[in-house]
Amino acid sequence: MTRFTPRFYVAAAIVAAVLLFGVLGPLVFSGHELGTVVGGLYDHPSGRLWLGTDNIGHDVFTNLMYGTRTSLVIGLVAGALATLIGVVVGTLAGYRGGALEEALMGVTNVILAIPSIVVLILISIALGTRSTVAMAVVLGVTSWPWTARAVRAQAASVRTREHLDVARLSGAGTMSLICYDVVPYMLSYLCMAFVLQVSSAVLNEAALSMLGLGPSGGVSLGIMLHWALAWESVRTGAWWAFVPPTLLLTLLAFALLMLQSSLDEVFNPRLRRFLRRRRPAATPTAEAA
């Protein structure tokens, strides 16, 4: 079987650490309640308040834990939803073909053509108040099209394989064919698509929150940045208010991308052999130059 690269372990460890911080952090470091005033405007970090306070005197470290949790929940729910819709639409289109494919791909391409930030802004505004789950659903239902398009291409290529003929001859129905004979062939791809969807959902949530359209009443990494910017923490030098969420977002985005590309290397043996082979091929030119 396949061997995981060191890159994979590093990326997976970072992602796991962030997950643990968001899930277990609030249980372990339960010194301050979320949303209680523990100090003044931008108090410096101290032994009691590890990362100081934000613009309304809340503990930044507590905000960071709950914010990470919210961002992760939104990322995972939106990523799962987007991947699910993408797989259903993509396999149906790719496997069934014909008029159904034309119709589904038509819808997909039209949605793909309209920039998602526009749809996100408009829907978020129309919602008025937005819960965390509502945000996740909005992000999920706007980001499935590219997964659907890629899955359709994969499903269409799987469709012509011989094991499907065998399954059809033994009397399998369409649903069972899709579930047992088509989708498993794309699982490795779906893993990577899911990771990418999670990362883009986390980043989109942050972007929307910074525009002022974040989940109402809660705290997420993007909302922390929104308040930090709105209350001039950057310009007054209150680094503890904006550096932690910025670094956490960067770390998470980078680790998820790294996870995706190392998964790609594991699942796609051609990529690995290619990596080894091209080195000697590239050196002669380097010497000539």
């Binding site: 309209i114 526009v118 505004i125 129309a126 942050a206 002022g212 310009r235 030119t285």
Partner: protein
């Protein structure tokens, strides 16, 4: 006799093929135009419909927020009626949509709620030049530098490749607004070498004078730098992987076997590797309007992003809807142009349309 017949039939076949090629190109263009027209209609409908789905309606929302600000009851009712009438909210939905379309055709995006007499088009016309002046140079310079860096990295290999690749990967996968925030803190607050905020100094009035331009330029550096770094990174990663792929391909090995000079090979390689990069350039020019919304917010730069931000915080729905429509249209037009250019340039797409492949 037989020979001439052969020649004429071959001529006829060639002419037929040429005609088929041009009609298939036309068909390709027509189909693409239809798709993008469809997408445009969807975008317009979304822009019309979604702000009208706000619980109650936008006018109720804005008037109730005025009410919280301590405006008298009778005055409120007058404002409410004025807005309801102006936005035609007392008419049925289909009539509203027709009015909306008519206004759009005249370039009329409505009146701003928050800055009341100002029309949305005027507000956008004030902000848009700032955004374009910020982004267009950043995109072009980032594209040139990034492609050069990626190509050199792939060509040289070794430590230079590793360093350039990792660096580019990092800046390109880092969320662009995070980079902007960190740069702002480092270069304007921790080591105050550049002004931290705005497009020009406070108290300065936008005009075409040397002093103003110099002032605007010092404010320009930080947002520009934060955008350019991200573009360079993204382009370098893309160009490097394309060039590496081409360097290992069969035609390069074959060319080497034939003893072609390096310069010739490099020309072939880059011509092949450039196509997706050119697409990338065209597409990022399409996202010009909406691509750096948050960078502008971080630096309080007086562009489209800051306008959108204030409009959202003031519930100024006409401005928000006007901006989202503008962003959508810019992206659609750029994508459409790319598709057309591809249909004309890339022989593979023409062939696919004739059903040869």
């Amino acid at each position: 006799m037989a020979l001439t017949a052969d020649v004429t039939s071959a001529d006829a076949a060639a002419a037929e093929e040429g005609q088929a090629a041009s009609t298939s190109l036309l068909r390709y263009l027509a189909r693409k135009a239809a798709w993008y027209l469809g997408a445009l209609v969807v975008a317009i409908v979304l822009n019309f419909l979604l702000p009208r789905l706000i619980p109650g309606n936008p006018v109720d929302a804005i008037v109730s927020s005025l009410g919280r600000g301590g405006v008298e009851g009778s005055q409120l009712r007058a404002i409410h009626e004025h807005y309801v009438h102006e936005f035609g909210l007392d008419k049925p939905m289909w009539q509203q949509f027709l009015i909306y379309l008519g206004n759009l055709a005249h370039g009329n995006l409505g009146t701003s709620f928050a800055q009341s007499p100002a029309s949305v088009s005027d507000l956008i016309a004030q902000a848009l030049p700032w955004s374009i002046a910020l982004q267009l140079p950043a995109i072009l310079i980032g594209w040139i530098v990034g492609n050069g860096l990626g190509a050199i990295a792939a060509y040289r290999g070794g430590w230079f490749d590793r360093g350039a690749f990792l660096g580019s990967l990092f800046t390109s996968s880092m969320p662009y607004y995070c980079l902007a925030i960190l740069l702002l803190y480092l270069l304007a607050v921790a080591i105050p070498v550049l002004p931290p905020t705005g497009g020009y100094s406070f108290g300065n009035v936008p005009e075409l004078s040397g002093a103003f331009v110099a002032d605007a330029l010092t404010h320009y550096w930080l947002p520009f730098l934060s955008l350019v770094l991200v573009f360079v990174g993204g382009q370098a990663v893309g160009m490097r992987s394309m060039a590496v792929y081409e360097l290992g391909s069969d035609y390069v090995n074959y060319g080497r076997g034939l003893g072609l000079r390096d310069r010739t090979l490099v020309r072939y390689i880059f011509r092949n590797a450039m196509l997706p990069q050119v697409t990338g350039l065209a597409l990022s020019i399409g996202t010009l309007v909406g691509g750096a919304l948050i960078t502008e917010i971080v630096f309080s730069y007086p562009g489209v992003g800051t306008l959108l931000f204030t409009a959202i915080s003031q519930n100024d729905y006409p401005v928000v809807a006007g901006l989202t429509l503008l962003i959508a249209v810019a992206v659609l037009v750029a994508n459409f142009c790319v598709e057309i250019a591809y249909g004309v340039i890339d022989p593979r797409i023409r062939a696919a349309n004739r059903g040869e492949r």
